[in-house]
Symmetry: C2
Subunit: 140 residues, 2 copies
DNA sequence: GAAAATTGTAAGGTAAACCTAACACATTGT
DNA sequence: ACAATGTGTTAGGTTTACCTTACAATTTTC
């Protein structure tokens, strides 16, 4: 089995997911540039992802996610978004800092916490006006 | 320099901090048991912490934090508490899950996010009654 | 105070994730 | 078309943090 992905591999599929979603023809070397690692590291990582059947990849062609890879990437990216939105909308953290924190936390936070955070942000946004009357000090 | 601690070393000083605060005479082997690692790993980690002047340690005696070590541990532990309290009080996450998540996130979250989260939890607790009238769906 | 148990450390090993250098192979530009 | 550029892989190396085994040093217990 060995079915859980390391933080590193999650970053690889997340980047592949976001790039290909935009129709980009992503090759290994592009991934290396985006992630700031060597082509050699990408080569190793991609062969792990291929052997886990999360991506399809032939040298010099565009990387694509398999169905399972896409599902996996989507899970990670959704966590990222829940975190980012919570940081931005609820805590008023600047956008880029919110993303940076989300990028690291998305790999380790539990599904239950993410799901509660998502509901909370939704409710908070809905009742923001009313809440803000009371919560002066979290407005910074 | 090399002044930032790895997650691993942060866990070591945090455990030392919590144990010694309770008056416990903590030795290397105790730490190994608490952290679930080998005595050999503890031995290596402690000599790193000694060389960074964060702890004092002589074989067969109790480990103590230096002033700097104590400050460092306190910083980590405060992050832990801010996270745990937020998960418990705001998101209604069960205590042990809140702690588990805090243990991992405390090493990577930025100071600014922690500080905003702290203010938020404080305000939320203060106005909890009023807020709950509106925020039914984040109540679990 | 000697035997037993505990504690610490050294040596050597593993695994993950990165690196550089070198080379093979493919694509592009003129 | 073939030189220049870009891409991928291999081999070998580094670092970090763990491990086991074995042994040395200390403390505890009878």
């Amino acid at each position: 089995m060995a079915n859980t992905l390391s933080s590193g591999l999650e970053d690889y599929i997340e980047t592949i997911y976001l790039s290909t979603k935009n129709g980009e023809m992503l090759k290994g070397a592009d991934l290396a540039r985006k992630l700031g690692v060597s082509r050699a590291s990408v080569s190793e990582a991609l062969s792990k992802l291929v052997s886990k059947k999360l991506i399809k990849y032939n040298s010099y062609e565009a990387i694509t996610l398999t169905k399972e890879g896409d599902a996996e990437a989507q899970k990670v990216y959704e966590k990222h978004n829940v975190l980012r939105e919570f940081f931005e909308k609820v805590l008023n953290v600047p956008s880029s800092e919110a993303s940076d924190n989300a990028c690291k936390i998305e790999h380790i936070i539990s599904p239950n916490v993410i799901s509660k955070m998502q509901s909370f942000t939704k409710s908070f946004s809905k009742y923001k006006k009313i809440l803000e009357v009371y919560m002066e000090e979290s407005e910074k």
